[in-house]
């Protein structure tokens, strides 16, 4: 049996076991969403099978699974891009979009600044790779996940209250800027042009144009009446194809598919159906992605446990600071939403989910599994910790604003 076959079999088998185990784990009633470890479980599985664990998933095998990663990245990218339907976004006050962008930018800057100092201190002589690692850390850190708000407000029948609505809006859309910055980073370190701002802008433009072209093509396919099965077929074909193009040209698959999703959201009247198809099949795709990312994970590069812990602590502090200060700074514009002061409202945005993992996976795919292991380890640890406590933090923030779900 070929190595790639063994890899696929192994991953599927492990995923299957994890899913069955997860089924029984979730079966317990009444568990409060205060400490969630789903991401950690699948990452740990990948870690156990990867080079740091049993060594069953070697780097060569992981490289052979490029189409699977491409499919997953495309899936998550389109799903995110579909949320940018201008008609729907207009239902929200324009200040929401402004706050989202500001929050995102501020967090990127805060994380970038603090981690630049920290990385310079702990890992001197990083050179070009330091900047690349820094951009990864800053972009992943700026991303929030809407799942935490949903969990925090689930008992109140959905996101209906004003702060919850704002938090849900920001956390749903604030990945946009990080994804664009990531595409720029990819251009900056492109293997064929050797870096530079102008080539980076050119490669970002090329990515956007490919996304646009594929979006229009997708539109020409999907505008006819299709069954759900046919729509799933079209989505799979386009995600695999765009993932292939991205791999061929060394571009960000995630960004290309986000653009594709934005085009669809604004051109296709039935984009809601595509969104439903994507959501209904998202879970297995995300799980496979987590296992693959976990397999490439080196938790403590060169045994530097203290360094990772210190960087993680600084990263978490910078992230909390970035989120909290950015939202607090926007308080004058958010009087209706922040009825009870709202100094700490930004803490409701601490969750990290699929998009963060996708960005890390895209990074590993483009720059190799062993690239910037320290940075990857720090952001992965942060994703796990954020997932564990962010729902609780979101609930506390909403409770402080008299919006607790119950």
């Amino acid at each position: 049996m070929a190595e790639s076959t063994q890899t696929v079999l192994l991953i599927l088998l492990v995923t299957f076991i994890a899913l069955v185990g997860g089924r029984f784990y979730r079966g317990r009633k009444g568990s409060p969403p205060l400490f969630r470890v789903t991401t950690l479980a699948y990452l740990a599985l990948g870690l156990a099978l990867g080079g740091q664990g049993l060594g069953m998933l070697e780097q060569d095998m992981l490289d052979n699974l490029e189409p699977v990663v491409g499919l997953s990245l495309g899936w998550i990218g389109i799903l995110f891009g579909l949320q940018f339907e201008i008609k729907r976004l207009r239902r929200f006050p324009p200040k929401f979009f402004g706050v989202t962008l500001f929050q995102s930018l501020f967090t990127v800057a805060t994380l970038g600044g603090m981690m630049y100092l920290a990385l310079g201190w702990f890992t001197p002589g990083g050179g070009g790779s330091l900047w690349r690692a820094l951009l990864l850390i800053a972009t992943v850190g700026a991303i929030s996940s809407p799942a935490e708000t949903v969990l925090a407000t689930s008992a109140s029948g959905g996101v209906k209250r004003k702060l919850a609505r704002l938090v849900h809006y920001i956390s749903s859309l604030d990945s946009f800027l990080p994804v664009v910055i990531f595409a720029f980073t990819v251009g900056l370190y492109h293997s064929r042009t050797g870096g530079g701002i102008v080539p980076a802008l050119e490669w970002t433009a090329v990515s956007a144009l490919i996304g646009l072209a594929l979006g229009l093509l997708f539109y020409s396919y999907a505008r006819h009446r299709h069954s759900e099965n046919e729509l799933a077929m079209i989505i799979i074909a386009f995600t695999v194809f765009s993932g292939g193009i991205a791999a061929y040209l060394d571009l960000s698959s995630l960004f290309i598919n986000v653009v594709l999703g934005v085009v669809l959201a604004n051109l296709l009247p039935t984009s809601e159906r595509i969104f439903r198809v994507l959501v209904s099949r998202e879970r297995p795709i995300l799980i496979v992605l987590l296992v693959l990312v976990g397999a490439n994970w080196i938790p403590f590069p060169q045994g530097r446990l203290v360094t990772v812990a210190a960087l993680l602590a600084i990263y978490l502090a910078a992230r909390v600071l970035g989120k909290a200060v950015s939202v607090a700074a926007a308080r004058p514009f958010l009087r209706e939403e922040l009825t009870q002061g709202g100094w700490a409202a930004g803490l409701a945005l601490l969750g990290q989910g699929g998009m963060s993992v996708a960005l890390i996976a895209n990074y590993q795919l483009l720059f190799g599994g062993a690239a910037d292991t320290m940075a990857v380890s720090v952001v992965l640890c942060a994703v796990v910790l954020s997932e564990a406590f962010s729902a609780y933090a979101a609930r506390c923030v909403l409770a402080g604003n008299d919006e607790e779900g119950g």
Binding site: M1, A2, S4, T5, V8, L9, L12, L13, T15, F16, L19, V20, R23, E66, P67, G70, L71, S191, R192, A213, L216, L217, S220, Y221, R223, H224, E228, N229, E230, A232, M233, I234, I236, A237, F238, T239, V240, F241, S242, G243, G244, I245, A247, Y248, L249, R281, R283, P284, I287
Partner: protein, 434 residues
């Protein structure tokens, strides 16, 4: 019209990507890019086929042929080989669906007719093709084989190959059209049973070939028979086990069905090849067990069907790309002879069987049109013959590949036509009435 335009733009984009960037490293497009392109082109051609009344799989096959090594060569032999992993996964799912579509209760209710059709087809087609190929070989291709024993062995192998049908094509047409009725049930049931018969018959035919042509040692023949016995018995046993496992999963776990389906199909197909079993048979038996022993199992088959389209597009597009059309040019007379004799005797055998079984006129007139498609099993046998009998074995394989190309394209079209004639296709009016 916009689909055609979209297709042209897609082809243009692919062309630009492949030919424009001169400094793209190796210049070899990644597998995912080729696979995505194949899926999109296959899907569009399938829809265009649907619009003119053809089954979708004809479009998928044509897409594969057009992009494959025989035509434009966007997919080279190596890429097609790399796609076999996905192909084996797709085949497992299709076989599960095929088995899951067969109701043993319905077959039991009209067992006599079922047996009659199977026996009619096996006897008439086998004997007819054997005689015609053996006798006419000399006229059409004098230098093919020399001597009566050799001609007989070749005729025998052609006859066995002519018996085989394609369960995957059959189930693809049934799932796509949503056909329900006597003809679709009979065609699928008979195709699956014949698959078993063909494996046994092929084992015997090869053993006769070993003996008459004195290929290998005497022990080789018995070793081969033992291998075949293990393949059949082991496949059935393994299929039953997998089927029971699926039922247990559906009853006790019933979660994450898509991941379970993917994992199961990979594992069953790879385990089959590791144990020397027949992957198609294993999965068909599993589907049969699942469908006939548990209501929850039927939900599983329905779940596969719900997400089946990408599987069919991938499978048949790869099958199309894998067809070597170049071989037809060199052996067209023999291909024509095999196609003609198989068609005539399949019609005759099915007609005789359905008359003996007391089938209604509408079944008698249309049933035979469902037994033309041929694919993987037939190709597998041809490859085995080529490996076993160097020399004429290669010509044999080329003739069979040529006839597969013809039947694979014509078979689904004829089957859909027969279903329409028998009134088994759901009309839009019937849907709205429901």
């Amino acid at each position: 019209m916009s689909r055609v335009f979209g297709l042209l733009v897609l082809v243009l984009l692919m062309g630009l990507l492949i030919y424009l960037p001169a400094d793209t490293g190796t210049g070899v497009p990644p597998l995912s890019m080729l696979l995505g392109f194949l899926l999109l082109v296959g899907f569009v051609l399938g829809k265009i086929g649907n619009n003119i009344g053809l089954p979708g799989i004809t479009g998928y096959l044509l897409a594969g042929m057009a992009l494959g090594p025989s035509c434009f060569g966007i997919l080279d032999r190596e890429s097609v080989g790399d796609l076999q992993l996905i192909n084996s996964f797709a085949l497992a799912l299709i076989a599960l669906t095929a088995g899951g579509k067969v109701s043993l209760r319905k077959i039991y209710e009209r067992l006599r007719s079922f047996y009659a059709v199977v026996c009619g087809q096996v006897l008439v087609t086998f004997c007819g093709v054997l005689v015609s190929m053996t006798l006419l070989l000399d006229l059409l291709a004098e230098d093919f084989v020399a001597g009566v024993p050799s001609r007989f062995v070749v005729g025998l192998l052609f006859a066995v190959v002519a018996l085989a049908n394609s369960p995957s094509s059959t189930v693809a047409v049934i799932v796509e059209t949503g056909a329900r009725g006597r003809v679709s049930e009979m065609v699928l049931g008979v195709t699956i049973v014949k698959d078993l018969v063909v494996i046994v018959a092929f084992a015997f035919a090869l053993s006769i070939g070993f003996t008459l042509l004195e290929v290998g040692s005497g022990a080789g023949s018995s070793y081969f028979m033992a291998g075949m016995a293990w393949e059949i018995a082991g496949s059935i046993f393994c299929g039953v086990l997998i089927g029971l496992g699926i039922i247990a999963y559906m009853v006790f776990v019933n979660a994450e069905i898509p991941v379970f389906i993917i994992a199961l199909s990979f594992i069953s197909s790879k385990a089959s090849s590791l144990l020397g079993l027949h992957p198609l048979l294993v999965c068909m038996v599993a589907g049969l067990v699942v469908n006939n022993l548990s209501r929850r199992g039927r939900e599983f088959i329905e779940a596969i069907e719900k997400g089946s389209l990408p599987i069919y597009v991938v499978f048949f597009a790869i099958a199309g790309a894998d067809l070597d059309l170049g071989v037809i040019a060199g052996t067209w007379e023999l291909v024509l002879l095999l196609v003609a004799s198989r068609s005539i005797f399949t019609w005759l055998g099915t007609w005789a069987g359905s008359v003996a079984g007391g089938e209604e006129p509408v079944v008698r007139e249309n049933l035979w049109l469902g037994f033309f498609a041929q694919a993987g099993v037939t190709l597998g046998m041809a490859v085995m013959v080529a490996d076993t009998f160097p020399g004429w074995g290669t010509t044999f394989k080329n003739v069979v590949v040529g006839s597969i190309a013809v039947f694979q394209l014509a078979g689904p079209v004829l089957f859909k036509y027969s279903l329409a004639r028998a009134g088994e296709l759901p009309s839009p009016l019937k849907f709205s009435a429901q």
